[in-house]
């Protein structure tokens, strides 16, 4: 008996009991569908996190002043200014920190910004043009401020999407005058939308002005110290760790802090943070897949159960088939193929359902739909394997039947 014939006989046998076949396959259908949609959820979350880190800029180091300490109370990173503007210039000097490609300071303050007929509380950033390169942030209209604007302390502002919308609605604000803390600024550009940061903040809720202007107009005093954050873009993941070592050595030298002593500055590596976070979502994905795999296993046990019932019910049929010439391996193959048809068919339906479910979920979470062909192939393969594994015992039992005993079974 050839394979095509065997499959035909198996499909006919299953067709005699359609409801039962469907209910048995349902276990596998749910299993495969949940594997596919769970992995798609995990992948979607991963992509979401990646996107969030990308919005902060990639291959980035963040250098901040050390913490203040008074009477046992420690104020946290940046609470005590220790980094001087000279330190910043040293970090930006390619002969001292060759691995740093771009260096920008970020000063920030909360403040109200006003247009002709609206106002909006936002975060004001003072920085240099390299900032936009490091953050990979391009304007949708207008031009960003340049080095000469910083040197000249000019009153120009670059608006994030949120601020632009709140103040000007749909009209283009480039060239308009806004007031920040009462000081008039000309809007030079509007930035493209970046969405949420990894911490959930709205990155687009920002007004960015030259750092010199910020110092003169927004914050007063503390001139020798950088009361903010220094961003260092290194261009590549390897460059980031090189730059980290070089800056650490440079600042320890400038601040006269020996190796092993507690530094009065902190360097954070965002690439490492992103990697850790991605590992977290990868763990989540594996966890979801594992839960789904358990349901696939349960589906397989359902198939084994029904195949055992089926072998018992059809003992006389097996006896007759043997009496007219079926060899033990013909009987084995027949029941095995029946189990595989059940599980593989269930797997195919499960894939369709899983893809549909993943599509619905990605639509409701607003994630990109991520269905990997690898996962689809794997779950269909697994479902066929489930059929073999769980169909083998009942089929083997059937093939071991003695023809005359089987025929005489009531």
């Amino acid at each position: 008996m050839n394979l095509r014939e065997t499959i035909r006989v198996a499909v006919r046998a299953l067709g005699r009991n359609k409801t039962r076949a469907f209910l048995t396959a349902l276990g596998v259908i749910i299993g495969v569908a949940s594997v596919i949609s769970m992995v798609a959820i995990g992948e979607g979350a991963k992509a979401q996190v990646e996107q969030a880190f990308a919005s902060m800029g990639s291959n980035l180091l963040v250098v901040r002043s050390g913490s203040s300490s008074s009477g046992g109370h420690r104020g946290g990173a940046g609470s005590l200014p220790t980094l001087k503007w000279d330190d910043l210039r040293a970090i930006a000097d390619p002969s001292q920190v060759p691995a740093a490609k771009h260096v920008a300071v970020e000063l920030r303050a909360s403040g109200t910004i006003q247009s002709e007929d609206a106002n909006w509380q936002t975060t004001i950033y003072g920085t240099s043009p390299e900032y936009f390169v490091i953050k990979d942030w391009d304007p949708v209209s207008g031009t960003l401020f340049g080095r000469s604007d910083v040197d000249g302390g000019r009153k120009v502002v670059v608006l994030g999407q949120t601020v632009a919308k709140e103040l000007f609605g749909l009209s283009d604000p480039v060239g308009s005058i806004v007031r920040i803390k009462g000081v008039p600024f000309e809007v030079g550009a509007v930035l493209e939308a970046k969405g949420q940061s990894a911490m959930g903040n709205d990155v687009d809720d920002a007004a960015i002005i030259p750092s010199s202007t910020f110092q003169a107009r927004i914050q007063a005093g503390l001139a020798p110290y950088v009361n903010g954050t220094i961003y260092v873009g290194a261009g590549s993941p390897e460059g980031v760790s090189r730059a980290e070592k070089q800056i650490d050595a440079l600042l320890r030298d400038r601040h006269r802090i020996g190796q092993g002593e507690e530094a009065d500055f902190t360097i954070r590596n965002l690439t490492e943070m992103a990697a850790a976070s991605q590992q977290g979502t990868a763990t989540l994905t594996s966890l979801l897949a594992a839960i789904a795999a358990v349901s696939l296993l349960v589906g397989g046990i359902g198939i084994m159960n029904i195949m055992l019932v089926s072998v018992t019910e059809r003992t006389r049929e097996i006896g007759l088939r043997m009496a007219v010439g079926a060899r033990p391996r013909d009987v084995l193959l027949q029941f095995l193929v029946e189990a595989i048809v059940l599980s593989f068919g269930g797997g195919a339906v499960g894939v369709m359902l899983g893809v549909f479910g993943a599509w619905r979920l990605s639509a409701s979470f607003g994630w990109p739909m991520l269905i990997q062909p690898r996962v689809v192939l794997m779950s269909v393969g697994t479902s066929a394997l489930v059929g073999v594994v769980f169909g083998l015992y009942p089929a083997w039992k059937a093939s071991r039947l003695d023809p005359i005993t089987a025929l005489r079974t009531e």
Binding site: M1, M322, V324
Partner: protein
């Protein structure tokens, strides 16, 4: 005992014993049977319930194995064959007819008849042709696509006979083929078997009814697992009353 009719020995059985173990008790269903059946014979095996007649037929049909003794079918020693080889013997040399028909439910007559050909590896078109021919031979060509539930008992047994014949076996075995039928359909089935015998088939049937055995040309009587009588007789022609 009369001398067996001339011709090659199709079945040669020597010292056949079949012991069933149930608990601590050994039941000797066959207790040393010697038997020769030649090509073209029509043999009825008679006996009371528990005489061993059905056990003998089961062994002749290759559905069970003897505890000891030898069985040669068409010159081949069947007692030592592997399970797979024995299945091939059942498929090609033997056609078996059961008291309870054993047709597959919800499966048409022609598909039931095709069953042995599937295991013989015959291709679908050829299978269908031969199955329809076998159904015609038993007078059921008009019922090819009926399922067993749509057929009478006599018709079902004729489908079963067609299934036994379809692969051109050397030996046709029937275990109480009329046991589930009324007297009229019993006569129909016996007339069919006599016709097959006349056409050259070797037929061995088991029955406990003298009327049925009367249609055979040789009658073997068994008691307590042994052959007690083996006679050639003039068969009564089975005529179905109008």
């Amino acid at each position: 005992m009369s001398a067996p009719p001339p011709g090659p020995a199709l079945i040669a059985v020597r010292g056949l014993v079949r012991v069933y173990r149930s608990g601590d008790v050994d039941l000797r269903a066959l207790d040393g049977v010697d038997l020769e059946i030649h090509e073209g014979e029509f043999v009825a095996i008679m006996g009371t319930s528990g005489s061993g007649k059905s056990t003998l037929l089961t062994l002749l049909g290759g559905l069970d194995r003897a505890t000891s003794g030898t069985y040669h079918l068409a010159g081949e020693d069947v007692t030592t064959l592997s399970k797979n080889r024995l299945a091939a013997v059942r498929n090609k040399l033997i056609g078996f007819v059961f008291q309870s028909f054993h047709l597959l439910a919800r499966t048409s007559a022609v598909e039931n008849v095709e069953l042995p050909l599937i295991y013989a590896g015959v291709r679908a078109a050829e299978r269908r042709k031969r199955a329809l021919a076998a159904l015609e031979q038993v007078g059921l060509s008009g019922r090819a696509h009926h399922t067993p539930a749509q057929l009478s008992g006599g018709q079902q047994q004729r489908v079963a006979i067609a299934r036994a014949l379809v692969n051109g076996p050397r030996l046709l075995l029937a275990d109480e083929p009329t046991g589930n039928l009324d007297s009229r359909t019993s006569l129909e089935v016996m007339a069919l078997l006599q016709g097959l015998h006349r056409a050259g088939h070797t037929v061995v049937l088991v029955t406990h009814e003298h009327d049925i055995a009367a249609h055979a040309s040789r009658v073997i009587v068994m008691k307590d697992g042994k052959i007690v009588k083996d006679e050639v007789q003039e068969p009564v022609q089975a005529v179905v009353p109008p």
